[in-house]
Amino acid sequence: MKLVTFNTAIEFICFLAALFLLPRDKDLAWKLMIPYLFLTFLVETAGLYLRKQGISNLELYNGFLILECFFTSFFFFRLYRIYQVKLKWLIGWLTTFSVLYVIEMIYHDFSSFTSFTATTMSVVFVLSCLYFYYLKLKDELYEPLLSSASFWWISGSLFFYFGSTVCNLFFDYLRENEPGKYNQSVRYLIFNILNIILYSFWIFSFICRYRQRRSSL
């Protein structure tokens, strides 16, 4: 059974990059990228395995959505720390997410992917990315963005969450109307492209972070 795909390969490479470049990072959020990426890789591989066995992997991805939302939101919050963004915004958003998630799970009788919650999450993350750019534009102090880890992390996330919005919105439609196998579908192709962009940007952000740490030693 072939469990190595574009997605799992790039996720594993990104995990390895994090494992080599981030273990000594002083910031907890960056350090947590290592277990987060490892879990992502495991979930993706397990999802693939379940699909190949003909078993639904929706529960697995529904469960992973919680981890993705909580971790990414926490990461955004840490990036905004220097701009004195208050903790109440993080708590408020995570509460909203949790309520939406539970309502959607109940509404679909726990048998469908929580695409509306995922779309809402994507929109919130896109807005967070745009807010980061806004803060950078507003900031009078120059910062070399080409070597800024946070900039590349945010840019990768923007590509991923902005690009996946349409797929998330039409998730049910695509699932029902796309003929043939999943790995020949438009959804699969788009998510492959998005994953390659996301993880490439993140790997570069880890390199920037590593260089930053080395130069400050």
Binding site: L130, Y142, L145, F159, F162, T165, V166, C167
Partner: protein
């Protein structure tokens, strides 16, 4: 008209592609803006460095000018007073009581004048301190030396006080501008009258210096080679974000107006 699922999927694909391209342009825009910000920051640093260099040069020039004045005064004024004192002392006849008393009074007067001159010179040597007291005081003191020569009829119009300038040491540069203009008049204008006006209009400081000398053709000087003095005046005024307006007609004197914003 019914839209087929194939068309909807194509539409979703196309929209996704657009959604992928949009961040690309956004990131490009952010990076370009950031580059401009860097250029702007570098320009600001360069301008600050240029300002600091010019300020240092100005301070040295002010000191040089002061030393020149001291040298001239020592030679022409205090030197003469002391020589006269020495000559008077050498001609004293102790037996001639009436003349001795008169000569001693004269020597005493000469000595008092020498002391006053030395005190004035000492004050001049601290010209930097004088500028700190205020631009009006510094200009007034500088003019008091020029008035002694009796070569020029000098009129100085200034308000009682000026708003302190925002940038550090701006007064020193304005004072040096004043010195350069006055030097130009002394050396080239053959003037008999100098009018200096210092005023504040709105948010600007104006220094206007006019003379009734031989004047010059501004365009000609600008085309051939702007005199070092005039080019310095323009350059330094520009450094203070100000404007130097030089107008002159041959045979009818010249007017130099310097306008410097406070902020």
């Amino acid at each position: 008209m019914q839209v087929s699922s194939k068309e909807i999927i194509s539409l979703i694909t196309l929209t996704s592609i657009i959604f992928l391209i949009a961040p690309l342009f956004l990131i490009r825009y952010i990076l370009l803006y950031n580059k401009k910000k860097r250029n702007h920051t570098e320009e600001k640093v360069l301008m600050q460095e240029a300002y600091e260099t010019e300020l240092l040069k100005t301070q040295i020039e002010v000191q040089e000018q002061t030393l020149k004045t001291v040298a001239y005064d020592l030679h022409d004024n205090i030197g003469q007073l002391l020589s006269l004192t020495a000559v008077t002392l050498s001609t004293i006849n102790v037996n001639d009581h009436e003349v001795v008393a008169e000569k001693i009074r004269f020597i005493e007067d000469l000595t008092q004048r020498s002391i006053r001159e030395v005190k004035a010179l000492s004050k001049l040597l601290h010209s930097e301190e004088l500028i700190k007291m205020g631009l009006i005081e510094a200009i007034d003191f500088e003019l008091s030396w020029l008035k002694r020569s009796d070569r020029f009829a000098i009129v100085f119009n200034a308000p009682e006080r000026l708003t302190p300038m925002s940038k550090n040491n701006q007064e020193t540069i304005v004072f040096r501008l004043f010195q350069e203009i006055i030097n130009n008049i002394i050396q080239h204008a053959k003037a008999t009258e100098i009018i200096i006006t210092l005023e504040e209009i709105g948010n600007e400081l104006h220094l206007i210096i006019s003379d009734n000398g031989i004047g010059f053709d501004v365009d000609e000087i600008g085309e051939v080679k702007m005199g070092m003095g005039l080019s310095n005046i323009k350059k330094r005024t520009h450094l203070l974000n100000g404007i130097a307006n030089i107008s002159s007609t041959p045979g009818k004197g010249s007017v130099i107006k310097i306008s410097i914003p406070h902020i």
